[in-house]
């Protein structure tokens, strides 16, 4: 740009500078667009993440629990006296990991709703597995649960899910099943023998066969509200609560 430069060289410089400026402008716009798109994409992922975490938020246990009654057919009812509807049927297998996930996420909501008298809950412990070791694990646990009196049944039920073995190993061993009964306060003298002799193993199998014959259960867990199967909302405590409250209107 000095005075000594020729006209031609000034023109070349000007063109060069112009090109440089254009290039910078393009580059700036490119960076801004790129960053904007990236920010939107990251925000979408973060938003979805938060929503998912929020949907899966469990309720806190109210501490109150509705009375539990063992039914002759092998199902277990949890409801306040006189509450007959809506009915929430829960078909579950103590060995099934998805059932454990359901219990961990929505278990307190189910208990709270029953305690509030909003719903009659019917547990159906079945054995969905047909391969080993999962089948025998499930039968042992299911049979043991049938030895537990109604006062401790719910606590034992939760204990079984908490102690669920991996699907690849033999678990729910008899001594464990006896010990967990003691831990939840089972005092009946017959309990040990009932568990170790697997007195109710056949009943567990029969009840499973009966349930599967009805054709409403294709896998576990299956959650049915007033005869209508719940899908993913069963796994979202807030949606489950809403579904139950809507059903009782």
């Amino acid at each position: 740009m000095g005075g000594k430069a020729t006209r031609e060289s000034r023109a070349r410089d000007r063109i060069r500078a112009q090109r440089e400026a254009d290039r910078k402008r393009h580059e700036r716009r490119r960076i801004v667009t790129y960053a904007l798109a990236a920010v939107v994409a990251v925000a979408a992922v973060a938003g979805g993440w938060l929503y998912a975490a929020n949907q899966s938020q469990s309720e806190t246990a109210s501490g109150k629990v509705a009375p539990v009654t063992l039914q002759p057919d092998g199902s277990v009812v949890m409801a306040q006296p006189g509450v007959e509807k809506p009915v929430l049927d829960i078909y579950e297998d103590f060995q099934c990991p998805a059932c454990k996930a359901l219990e961990e996420t929505s278990g307190t909501t189910v208990k709270n709703l029953a305690a509030e008298g909003q719903v009659k809950v019917v547990f159906h412990p079945i054995t969905i597995f047909s391969a080993e070791p999962t089948k025998s694990n499930s039968v042992r646990a299911g049979a043991a649960a049938r030895c537990v009196p109604s006062g401790q049944w719910l606590a034992y039920h939760d204990k079984l899910f908490a102690g669920q073995p991996s699907e690849a190993v033999e678990g729910f061993k008899l001594d464990e099943l006896v010990a967990w009964g003691k831990e939840v306060g089972v005092t009946s003298p017959d309990f040990d023998k009932c568990v170790t002799s697997q007195e109710h193993a056949a009943l567990q199998g029969d009840y499973t066969a009966k349930v599967l014959k009805q054709g409403v259960v294709r896998g576990t867990p299956t959650v049915i509200l007033n005869g209508k199967e719940l899908g993913d909302e069963a796994f979202s405590p807030s949606q489950l609560r809403k579904a139950v409250l809507d059903a009782s209107k």
């Binding site: 992922v45 998805a98 699907e167």
Partner: protein, 198 residues
């Protein structure tokens, strides 16, 4: 000002030049399709998604939970980016890394004898009774998707891509660098940027 060299190009090179971006587009759509379906099937049930991640027993509890919540939405967002061809190279890299992680996870589960549903397409852990996990085919599938994602990373953004429309495409279409280099003078960067937005 913009010098196009199509006229002088040898026919074969020209055909390749025409075809390659479409291959990228096809690869984008296949990878995106798999990711979106996989994400969509999982996104309604974050609890099972978390469970599916935990089943691999590779990540510590809280990390597995975070990954389980985030994976479905990440798969969908990356899939959508690939469909529209926005941030193509970055999306391709993320897709390739995801597939690599899946291959490692499944292979490791296989090696350890874990009997799990891969959870790839939702419903993790709900392996029906008597159903065996087909680890081999899951690995083959994910490795194939990995290669396609690799193609997208190598040759972005392909045809019908927002990256081109918005001028975000790489400075030069990289599959035939020689080709333009000869023809374009020192205004090359600008020329190819103009080209990107046509």
């Amino acid at each position: 000002m913009l010098v196009t060299s199509d006229q002088t190009a040898p026919l074969r090179s020209r055909n390749a030049r025409m075809a390659l971006p479409w291959v990228t587009t096809a690869a984008r759509l296949v990878v995106a399709g798999v990711l979106i379906v996989a994400g969509w099937l999982k996104i309604g049930n974050p609890v099972l998604s978390v469970h599916a991640v935990e089943a691999y027993e590779l990540l510590p509890g809280s990390v597995a939970t975070a990954v389980g919540y985030g994976l479905p939405i990440l798969e969908i967002v990356v899939g959508v980016l690939l469909v529209v061809g926005l941030l193509t190279r970055v999306a391709g890299i993320v897709a390739a890394l995801l597939m690599l992680a899946f291959v490692i996870g499944i292979a490791s589960a296989w090696a350890r004898g874990l009997r799990i549903d891969c959870g790839c397409f939702g419903g993790g852990g709900q392996l029906a009774s008597g159903q065996d996990p087909s680890y081999f085919w899951e690995i083959v599938r994910d490795a194939g998707i990995f290669l396609l994602a690799g193609w997208v990373v190598w040759f972005p953004p392909g045809r019908l891509a927002l990256d081109s429309a918005l001028g975000l495409a790489p400075e030069r279409e990289p599959y035939d660098p020689e080709f333009e280099h000869d023809e374009v003078d020192d205004g090359g960067a600008e020329a190819s940027q103009n080209k990107g937005s046509d």
